[in-house]
């Protein structure tokens, strides 16, 4: 008989104790994870909660650092802007109730609402607005310097008037002071920009309660928002969206009720009984070229060859699942800035592209290009570019680097893809893409001849005037000649929402929850 000094009873107890410890540990740990979000739990149990999974979860919460690109949308939850836009794209009041231009368009005064406060108690007044403008122009890591380059100086007159002096006639300022460029942070919080970048303080429809970097943010309704009466949502939980393929499942099972949606998932979303909201806007995808770097430097024939190699229809057919259309301009067809006369300047012609490649001095297969993309969801688009260029004899190697943004905005890449969601101000879109300091101009400081004059003229035309559309389209035509950009297709942003969420207002490019109700909560 074999024995053990410890009896079987003791041994089983030891195992039992270990298992119990393990289970208690697991429960205790998950309870720990909950203490931080207990506020959210309390809030959500009693009122309308928006659970939004976004692909643009902010890395930077300071609007000056965040920039005017698509990632501005979650920031509009916590910050308010000086102006907003309506469904037609015209400027409407925000923190400012009205504005007046002088005759020549070189001065505009904004009249700020009375009696508003930021969520930390600082008053919203002309000084706060001026502070925001000056900070965007001067802060070292500001991404907005170029967008405000028309502003020479700002002064305040009284508590509620902001006088903006421009260095040339520019009627776009009310649009520029919208949600993409002038989200206003509390000046008291902005005194420490690093801290503001980690935790936002604004005067928007919601107040930030908790931020877990890269994962989740929780907001509750701001009763002092200037339009609080039209906000019917009490709590917003913002999540960093998971892989697109899992978003619909997350919506179906109630983890989210609002989510950014990839076009390939639209069919699944509809089949799952969700609403698919097609956001109106000015999206345009392009191939960006840096003509200051090899192999493009001094070789315009190479750029021409690539222009003719692109078959826009394949992108539309295989990437947009019926939601997109081809465009060879910086605006989609139908937008006010789209120049019909200049459409299809470079039709798809692979034979001509091969000739031009030879003229550029390259034999088929001789030239290799590196294409860096940020996410593997951009893979299909990159693969189409790769195969179309391979068809004319240019070899493209694709690498995925989540850190793509840094070399792109530092203009260190020779060749890249980019997709814009547009701007509130159409001339801002043009200068961002074609201007000598344009954020999206990979070839900066290159500026195509004739563009500066054309865009100045468009800016100097009042928005409502009969010449406006024509001058804007002329500026588009001028920019189109830039060797730095090949526009390919336009695909709108899609959102999937639970049927309990009412329709969103359709402002181009914006996600606005004014008037939105969540039923059944």
């Amino acid at each position: 008989m074999r024995f053990n000094p410890l009896s079987a009873r003791h041994r089983h107890r030891a195992v039992g104790v270990a298992v119990a410890i393990g289970a208690a540990l697991a429960l205790g740990l998950s309870a720990c994870a909950s203490t931080g979000s207990s506020n959210a739990a309390d809030a959500s149990s009693s009122a309308a909660v928006l659970k939004w999974a976004t692909t643009y979860f902010p890395v930077d919460w300071d609007p000056v650092v965040n920039g005017a690109g698509a990632q501005f949308r979650p920031l509009t939850l916590v910050y308010a802007s000086v102006t907003n836009i309506n469904a037609q794209g015209d400027p409407t009041p925000g923190l400012a109730t009205s504005w007046t231009y002088n005759k020549t368009g070189t001065e505009v005064t904004f009249h700020i609402r009375h009696g508003l406060k930021f969520s930390d108690g600082t008053p919203v007044n002309a000084a706060a607005i001026k502070d925001a403008i000056v900070r965007a122009q001067t802060q070292k890591n500001s991404a907005l310097i170029e967008d405000l380059s028309a502003i020479q100086s700002v002064s305040t007159s009284g508590d509620y008037n902001v006088e903006v002096y421009l260095n040339h006639p520019d009627f776009q300022i009310p649009l520029v002071f919208g949600q993409r460029v002038l989200l206003v942070a509390s000046p008291k919080a902005a005194a420490d920009p690093t801290k503001l970048n980690q935790f936002p303080v604004g005067a928007g429809p919601f107040i930030a309660i908790k931020i877990i970097p890269g994962q989740e943010a929780v907001f509750k309704k701001n009763p002092n928002y200037w339009d609080a009466k039209d906000i019917h949502i009490q709590t917003v939980e913002l999540f960093n969206a998971p892989a697109p393929a899992t978003v619909v499942a997350g919506l179906q099972t109630g983890t989210y009720n609002f989510a950014d949606l990839a076009p390939s998932e639209a069919k699944a979303a509809k089949a799952a009984g969700l609403d698919v909201f097609v956001q109106p806007g000015y999206n345009a995808e392009n191939i960006s070229i840096n003509i200051n770097k090899a192999p493009f430097k001094g070789n315009p024939a190479l750029v021409e060859a690539m222009r003719y190699a692109i078959n826009r229809q394949q992108f539309v057919d295989q990437l947009t699942f019926g939601y997109g259309k081809a465009t060879d301009e910086v605006f989609p067809p139908g937008a006010i800035g789209y120049n019909k006369a200049d459409a299809n300047l470079w039709p798809y012609n692979p034979a001509k592209a091969k000739q031009l490649l030879a003229k550029a001095g390259y034999k088929p297969g001789q030239l290799s290009l590196d294409l860096v993309i940020q996410l593997d969801t951009e893979g299909p688009e990159a693969e189409i570019v790769q195969s179309q260029l391979a068809a004319i004899g240019i070899k493209v190697t694709i690498t995925i680097n989540p850190n793509w943004a840094t070399p792109f905005f530092a203009k260190q890449l020779a060749f890249s893809l980019y997709g814009t969601t547009g701007r509130d101000s159409q001339t801002e879109t043009l200068t961002d893409h074609f201007g000598p300091n344009g954020v999206l101009n990979l070839s900066a400081p290159y500026q195509v001849a004739g563009f500066a004059a054309a865009v100045d003229k468009a800016e100097a035309t009042p928005i409502g005037s009969p010449d406006y559309a024509a001058n804007l389209q002329a500026a588009t035509a001028a920019g189109l000649q830039s060797e730095a950009l090949i526009f390919v297709y336009s695909s709108p942003n899609l959102f999937a929402k639970s049927k309990s969420i009412s329709a969103l207002p359709g402002e181009p490019g914006h996600v606005d929850f004014t008037g939105v109700t969540i039923s059944g909560q």
Binding site: A8, G254, T255
Partner: protein
């Protein structure tokens, strides 16, 4: 197999003394076991942390790659690196990093400046919850299946279980995860397919969200435990004392629970020490499929961004987890089958 050959002292008159002696013996055994285990794992900890630290030098990455761009003059790069202490010699950096680690300070992330310990903390609770539940499921089903296969050895039950396990153990976790999402969550609509709900918001919401990921993770552990238990039990059943016990008329249940199980369970418990790293490692896949913001996801994202301190922090934490778990397993093993501690 790990069994003791010590014989019970027969002295019954002096009951008190014997109990005390037995208790002293047990405590001494425990302490020796503990000490021995620590002596083994301390070098592992240091080697692993050194290798982790070596990663930065091997990778050639620096914070300037992530943070600067437009303003990347050499002066600014040097200043940024100095602020992270990266301008000192290799061993100076290693020393201060290690000292920090031992105090719980895992450095600052290069991409957003947050302390790495804070970034890991919330993700860790999610990953540990899923891993622990996977362990419980794997061990529970594994023990049950292994025992069943051993008790009914060579019957069709045994063959069926063994073949099933051999197939299941080869299916990668991501395939199982996808199948579970498609079948259970989307088609049958039984359980949610994504996200994490903390326990404080209710038992069923919490369980329904962690069950599928834990299940996907548990299959590997389940099949290992089952196989080891089956083999151990079959070996134990072959021992002479079992025949003796049967001849003496002990019931099959008593033979199983009092003798065979305690003698055969050793390898199954021991294999847990090897399975736990696999559970933590598998969290990367499972968190990707089930949209859990755990520390596997965090490690993958930080690594792809080139954020070395975050990756180092994750590796250190996972090493500590594995070492702690192995400590517990070795302690358990010491009590269950002390002979295994003698290196037999």
């Amino acid at each position: 197999m790990a069994v003791s050959s010590a014989v019970h002292p027969i002295a019954v008159e002096d009951g008190h003394g014997v109990t005390a002696a037995r208790a002293r013996h047990a405590v001494r055994g425990l302490l020796t076991n503990f000490g021995r285990t620590i002596a083994i794992f301390v070098p592992v900890f240091f080697v692993a942390t050194f290798a982790t630290f070596l990663l930065r030098a091997l990778s050639g990455l620096n914070p300037a790659r992530i943070q600067l761009g437009q303003n990347a003059t050499p002066l600014e790069i040097n200043r940024l690196e100095a602020s992270y202490g990266l301008d000192r010699g290799f061993f100076a950096q290693y020393g201060s990093w290690l000292a920090g680690v031992l105090h719980g300070n895992l450095g600052r992330s290069w991409s957003n400046g947050y302390p790495v310990a804070v970034l890991i903390r919330d993700g860790l609770t999610i990953s540990l919850t899923v891993a622990t539940l996977a362990l419980v499921l794997g061990v529970g089903f594994g023990l049950a299946l292994g025992a069943l296969a051993a008790v009914r050895r060579a019957t069709w039950i045994d063959r069926g279980i063994t073949s099933l396990l051999s197939i299941v153990s080869t299916v990668p976790a991501f395939v199982i995860g996808i199948v579970l999402v498609e079948v259970v969550a989307v088609e049958l609509k039984l359980l949610p397919s994504a996200g994490f709900v903390p326990f404080s918001q209710g038992f069923w919401p919490w369980l329904s969200h962690v069950l599928l990921p834990a299940l996907a993770l548990s299959f590997g552990c389940m099949s290992s435990v089952a196989r080891q238990l089956r083999a151990g039990l079959i070996g134990a059943y072959r021992e002479n004392y079992v025949i003796g016990a049967t001849v003496r008329g002990l019931s099959r249940r008593r033979i199983f629970f009092r003798h065979v199980l305690k003698n055969g369970i050793g390898p199954a418990v021991a294999v847990l020490g090897l399975e736990f790293p696999a559970l933590i490692g598998g969290s990367v896949i499972v968190e990707s499929i089930f949209a859990l913001a755990g520390f596997g996801q965090f490690a993958a994202t930080s690594a792809q961004m080139g954020d070395v301190p975050s990756v180092q922090g994750v590796l250190v934490v996972s090493i500590v987890l594995v070492v702690t778990f192995n400590l517990i397993v070795n302690l358990l093993l010491g009590r269950i089958s002390p002979a295994s501690q003698r290196g037999v």
